[in-house]
Symmetry: C3
Subunit: 145 residues, 3 copies
């Protein structure tokens, strides 16, 4: 296949992967969340580092299971492909909703995901995700555990 076409397809698949990660979180579809990552992924966030898919799923469940809803809106994705590996950056704005939380129902966390990805026989997978925060707004008690 034409190299330029193959690169465009890879970029499309990686954008889809990032979108599917967001859908998995917001649908609390933990099986789908596992499908977004390699076998031994690393997840770095402002509070620390998680190694392995079980830890990543546990952290997501801890953050989201008690909520009524969440929405991880994505934008600004830029992907660089290098053969069977890739890097990408995108912005997220994640709304968290819990009715009846003391002080308000909503809490937004916004920032960026900076990913390393690898092409596997099952498609592109995230091997490393770095989550950075740019701003937060609303009632932090919504996401308190």
């Amino acid at each position: 296949m034409d190299t330029a076409l193959a690169e465009l397809i890879a970029k499309q698949e990686i954008a889809d992967l990032c979108a599917n990660y967001a859908y998995a979180l917001d649908r609390k579809d933990w099986a789908a969340l596992r499908e977004c990552f390699t076998d031994a992924p690393v997840f770095l966030h402002p509070g620390g580092r998680v190694d392995g898919i079980d830890g990543i799923v546990d952290r997501a469940r801890g953050a989201l299971d008690a909520l009524d809803a969440s929405q991880h809106l994505l934008g600004n994705i830029v992907v660089e492909v290098d053969g069977d590996t890739a890097q990408s950056v995108c912005y997220f704005q994640a709304q968290h909703l819990r009715a009846g939380a003391l002080g308000g129902d909503t809490y937004i966390i916004a920032g960026s995901y900076t990913d390393r990805l690898v092409r596997t026989p099952q498609g592109w997978r995230i091997s490393e995700r770095v989550q950075d925060y740019l701003w937060r707004d609303g009632n932090r008690a919504v996401v308190a555990r």
Copy 2:
């Protein structure tokens, strides 16, 4: 044409269609809104079901005509193409603005559009749109009629 290229083009056209739907709403361009749909579209939303393009335009006008502005920001679009039909899911975050509304000027409605689309001689068109809500925030009186 190469099948993989044709699929990428279809995905691009459908993403453009979803964006143009949003622009039509926010510009109150009801002629452009009609161009987004097939001749006999269905629109399903949390409050019910609308059959036909006249009903869809009437509902949009009812929601938006009285506002000073709106912005339907889209993200996370994933499209699956199957020949001359397609399915897509995207997120929206729709801000509604009406200055002087009692209790505040803004009201956000956020959720997802799940579409069925068909390729027509005039390009891709939405035959069915399912609008789901994930969260709402602000002053509901902004959109009250």
Copy 3:
């Protein structure tokens, strides 16, 4: 190269350019901001007109240097390519953060960018950007100088 493929690539490059403009602002990377524009760009905004890249960078620094953070989230990009020129429209939702600002820490400005672009030996560049506002929310003092 296939014409349809070349057009898709141009659309991808222009979407990347718009994303990189946003990253440049939010990282306060003024050298990267310069790379987004032609040698003699025009920037039109609701308050006036800026001619030339020095003026564009000065305006961005004036708006952002004093902030703790910003996030220019983009969506809904539609690009039309015509040979070595192009036009695009996208939505932005820009959060501005300054801790300790009297009346609240955040101020959102949201609207659209309507661009004219040209293909140069260094890639696509913005020759004219028109910034329109759709809504604003939060504490305007965050961005007051």
